[in-house]
């Protein structure tokens, strides 16, 4: 990703991380809500969206859990979704910590 950084432009990596940190909590919330309400299609759609963001940033474990959730949602196989959503939230916390410690010090 750093390779895309152009001289003199606002820091792309920071911009992406900011987008991720701003955008992910509401999506996690939406995923959990869909899981709680047992809405398979909504769950699949929300998980799909988040999957794209995670994959783009290289957060592969998160992307994988999203893919799993998307598949479960599409199949309306909602028995296991609760634990998957928990794992997703935990993984997000992990990613957030890494991102914050790696980039918090660098100037934007």
């Amino acid at each position: 990703l750093r390779d895309l950084q152009e001289q003199g432009e606002p820091d792309l990596v920071h911009e992406l991380i900011a987008l991720f940190l701003d955008g992910t909590p509401p999506r996690l919330h939406a995923i959990r809500a869909a899981a709680d309400r047992r809405e398979g299609p909504t769950l699949a759609q929300q998980a799909h969206l988040l999957k794209g963001s995670c994959a783009g940033l290289g957060a592969r474990p998160m992307a994988e859990i999203c893919e799993e959730l998307e598949a479960l949602g599409r199949r309306e196989d909602l028995g296991q979704v609760g634990s998957a959503v928990d794992r997703l939230s935990a993984e997000y916390e992990h990613v957030r910590e890494v991102l914050c410690s790696d980039y918090a010090g660098t100037p934007a």
């Binding site: 990703l1 895309l4 152009e6 792309l12 911009e15 992406l16 987008l19 991720f20 955008g23 759609q45 799909h48 969206l49 794209g52 963001s53 994959a55 783009g56 940033l57 290289g58 992307a63």
Partner: protein, 308 residues
């Protein structure tokens, strides 16, 4: 190239945008299909890179619209699809896409597909140019085929088509036409005396005079060797005779020397007139025969005159 991105995920969109810009292309971004469609219609886009699933208008619908939209350029359409999802890729191709990109974005792959896109759009652009060129040549040929190259007047082909139209107008709208057949007097003798090049020059000068003096709505054609045909709309035989008399006199006043003329010292014309009137079931051929017979009478009567 100008590239339109349709992607609802902000992070993927930004990465894609930066990657495309880094390859030296211009980028337009939309966060859903409908916004992409709006942008597409406003701008000449070379490539569309579209996500598959988007709220509202999805990628398939966007692709279909792009393909149905009439455009001077052929937009290259790339689908974004998950690596594992080959069925989506196939559906996308069937909907009109040219290729697909797998997600997450592989920048080498993006670069290769954009090289292909550049090649294909350039070919299409060339094709469009050639098509326009061909169309122009066709038009030129159409016009040339209906012109007499020596005098630039309409030729027999043009006359034939115009007479068909005219016949229909007489029947349908009750229009009437006078038709005049003119012939340069003793033209064979002129050619024999002065040579064919000089003869061509006489044809050109007489043709130009007839064309210059015709009134708006009248049309002059080169009918045969030294014969010209005039179509005079909405003229009675009497007024048409006046018109032709004026033209006959004008040719005489050109004062082109013709020492083997027999009865005059200069080039002259004779003319025969006939009419096409509504309510008559006369065929065009009959009218032409009548004009020809009148011309014959003008010749018999001593030439350099107009006969009906």
């Amino acid at each position: 190239m100008k590239i339109l991105i349709a992607e609802d995920d902000a992070i993927s969109r930004l990465i894609l945008q930066k990657s495309i810009q880094k390859l030296g292309h211009e980028c337009l971004c939309a966060s859903d299909g409908a916004a992409a469609w709006e942008l597409y219609q406003q701008d000449a886009v070379d490539v569309v890179v579209s996500d598959w699933m988007m709220p509202g208008m999805d990628g398939i619908e966007l692709c279909k619209r792009v393909r149905e939209h009439l455009s001077e350029v052929y937009p290259y359409f790339l689908f974004l699809t998950a690596l594992s999802d080959k069925t989506h890729a196939l559906t996308g191709m069937l909907a009109g896409a040219d290729d697909y990109l797998t997600k997450p974005l592989d920048r080498d792959e993006l670069r290769m597909k954009l090289i292909a896109a550049e090649r294909v759009t350039a070919l299409h652009r060339q094709l469009t140019l050639h098509k326009a060129e061909l169309e122009r040549l066709k038009q030129d040929l159409f016009t040339q085929a209906r012109r007499d190259p020596l005098t630039s007047l309409g030729n027999r082909l043009q006359l034939g088509e115009d007479l068909d139209t005219l016949r229909a107008r007489v029947d349908r709208y009750g229009h009437s036409y006078s038709i005049a057949l003119c012939d340069i007097d003793f033209f064979k003798q002129y050619n024999d005396t002065y040579g064919h090049l000089a003869g061509d020059e006489v044809l050109r000068r007489v043709a130009k005079l007839l064309a210059d003096l015709e009134r708006a709505g009248d049309t002059v054609y080169r009918y045969g060797g030294e014969e010209f045909m005039l179509i005079l709309p909405e003229q009675s035989l009497a007024t048409a005779t006046l018109v032709m008399e004026r033209l006959r006199q004008a040719v005489e006043e050109l004062a082109i020397p013709h020492r083997t003329h027999g009865s005059s010292e200069v080039v002259t014309i004779s003319a025969g007139l006939a009419m096409l009137l509504p309510g008559e079931s006369k065929s065009i051929d009959t009218v032409l025969q009548e004009a020809d017979a009148a011309l014959y009478r003008a010749k018999e009567g001593g030439r350099n005159r107009v006969a009906v």
